[in-house]
Amino acid sequence: MPELTYREAVRDGLVQAMRADDRVFIMGEDIAEMGGSMGVTQGLLDEFGSERVRNTPISEMAIVGAGIGAAMAGMRPVVEIMYEDFLTLSLEQIVNQAAKHRYMSGGQITVPLTIRTQGGAGWSPGAQHAQQLEAWLVHVPGLKVAYPSTPQDVRGLLWTAIHDDNPVVVFEHRLLYPVKGEVSEELEPIPLGKARVVREGTDVTVIAIGPLVHRALEAAKQAEEEGISVEIVDPRTLQPLDEEALVASVKKTNRAVVAHEAVTRMGFGAEVTAVLQHQAFDYLDAPIERVGAKFTPLAFAPVMEQYVIPHAEDVLAAIKRTVGK
């Protein structure tokens, strides 16, 4: 199987979708000549031209909103919000418009819009360039939300998002872009709403998303050395959520840790915890542990930043708490 970086996988997903269907086009700040602030869209301007690779002004509201309008008018736009912190500037359009047109129209309108964004800490970008805000969007009926953690997943989920008839927000993580992984020869679409068992185990289930999947893998290896067998499940899609897969795993292991980089309080882990304790109440041998960022904005100084965000050892510590070690 070939290897791609996460960045290349996103790009490949976009390129293939644009080649296959000329309704697909991309818009965003600095995505054309520069190829995006993360280099994801490099080369696309050359291949597809400036009509389909559109550099926008700094207008997050209009970027998303123009995507909505083009989608309603029959296109399949993919818009990029450079940092997810700037979702705060476009939520009106995402939440009140994209998510609700179909409903408010009683089914007349379709909004096949994909919103790509990225974020994440660990490189000292400061408090306004590193938030993880996926939880907000999970609270919004009418949206679908994906947060792929590997090249194979991001390519397959992005493809599916683009072809879905609903607005889908795809979260990428800054630190994942250079990470390499195997991908199938042919692009394999991955259905929204299907979790992936990343690693099998018997003592405790770690439900992790984005970069925490990788940190959980590290933690699992260390746990193994201490005789704890860890299963890791990556929901991949946060909405719709594959509750069945998560619950099944926890019913098997009887213990759970939920891990993400976002602030723990009111983070996605809260929802997963609430679902698990409800559906697997009788199976749980220990409280479900949550791993996430501490309750503070992100500090600039690396020592403080690293203190705030969750690492493999935080996942490990949580694993150990569940098994009473």
Partner: protein, 341 residues
């Protein structure tokens, strides 16, 4: 009755630097003007009926009527071609009726019935009728403007002879969404027409209290080098002429147009609004600028002729009401449908 119109209100188009009068070459024939009157009266009687039924406690939610602004809705919507689309606001009944949606289905929507244009999911502030080019009334100020920009972009990219039109009020010119949308539309020369219905009020806030350029909204378009046209919104002929010109310009792909339409809100912001903030003089001035007597005069209609129009309007509205009232309530659990495609 002699009506006085301020000099600034004659239809005229200007792009930065120039100021050119729109020639009334597009002036319509009397037959068409009679159709306009028909539509305007339909909207007026529809809105009056809605007020009455709301006050009677029959209508859920809250509603905003377009009484006084009929000429804008009719002038613009009549100027649109079959494939053109539009987005409206919280004050959407007029635009929707003017564009030819079935009054029965519009009324049914206000009653939350399955037969409604949005099948009861939308309500007064969320009228949709895709078959009639209505891509949605929006209850968030400015909320529909980016989409109309994006639709106009799609038409441009696909080289289609279609235009996307946005209606919005004077108050909406203050929200960032407005600014971003106009900028993007002009930059990309999308096939879009922005119709600013300056009715002098944003809820209880008069223009002078919410915008430093409330008396000349075209200045907002100048910030983007966007072509703009000023028009007297109480003169349906003028609105029609300006809208046709704007639509043709946008359709050609040259770029978007801003229509700066002066109009009047004759009633409260919402039905039931006691308008404590509004002087008697202001209300009288608004009433004085009623577009319907003006068109009647233009057509030189006798009392009998006008009555015939009016009766027809009443008849259609009564029929719509009856239809709506005997409509079907959705099943409660239908609330879970249409969340996703």
């Amino acid at each position: 009755m002699v009506l006085h119109w301020s000099a600034t209100l004659t239809a005229g188009a200007y792009t930065p630097g120039t100021l050119a009068k729109v020639e009334r070459e597009t002036t319509v024939g009397e037959g068409t003007l009679r159709e306009f009157l028909h539509d305007m009266l339909l909207i007026r009687r529809f809105e009056e009926k809605v007020e009455e039924r709301f006050r009677a406690g029959e209508l859920p939610g809250f509603l905003h009527v377009a009484i006084g602004q009929e000429a804008v809705a009719v002038g613009v919507c009549r100027a649109m071609e079959e494939d053109d689309i539009f987005a409206s606001t919280h004050r959407a009944h007029g635009h929707t009726l003017a564009r030819g949606s079935n009054p029965r289905r519009v009324m049914a929507e206000l009653y939350g019935k399955v037969e409604g244009v949005s099948h009861g999911y939308g309500g007064s502030m969320h009228l949709y009728d895709v078959e009639r080019g209505n891509y949605g009334a929006n209850a968030v100020i400015g909320g529909g403007l980016p989409a109309v920009t994006g639709a106009g972009l799609a038409f441009k990219m696909r080289n289609e002879p279609r235009v996307a039109v946005a209606f919005f009020g004077d108050g909406a010119t203050n929200i960032g969404t407005f600014h971003e949308s106009l900028n993007l539309a002009q930059l990309w020369r999308t096939k879009t027409v922005f119709v600013c219905e300056n009715n002098h009020w944003a809820e209880s806030t008069p223009g002078c209290q919410h915008s430093p350029v409330w008396d000349d909204m075209s200045k907002r378009a100048l910030a983007f080098n966007m072509r703009s046209t000023k028009v007297d919104g109480q003169d349906v002929e003028a609105v029609y002429a300006a809208a046709r010109e704007a639509l043709e310009y946008a359709r050609s792909g040259e770029g978007p147009v801003f229509l700066d339409v002066l109009t009047y809100r004759m009633h409260g912001h919402y039905i039931g609004d006691p308008q404590v903030y509004r002087s008697k003089e202001d209300r009288e001035a608004a009433a004085y600028h009623d577009p319907i007597p003006r068109l009647r005069e233009r057509l030189g209609l006798s009392d009998e002729e006008f009555e015939a129009f009016d009766e027809e309007a009443h008849r259609v509205v009564d029929d719509a009401l009856e239809f709506a009232k005997s409509g079907t309530d959705p099943k409660p659990e239908d609330a879970l449908k249409n969340v996703y495609a």
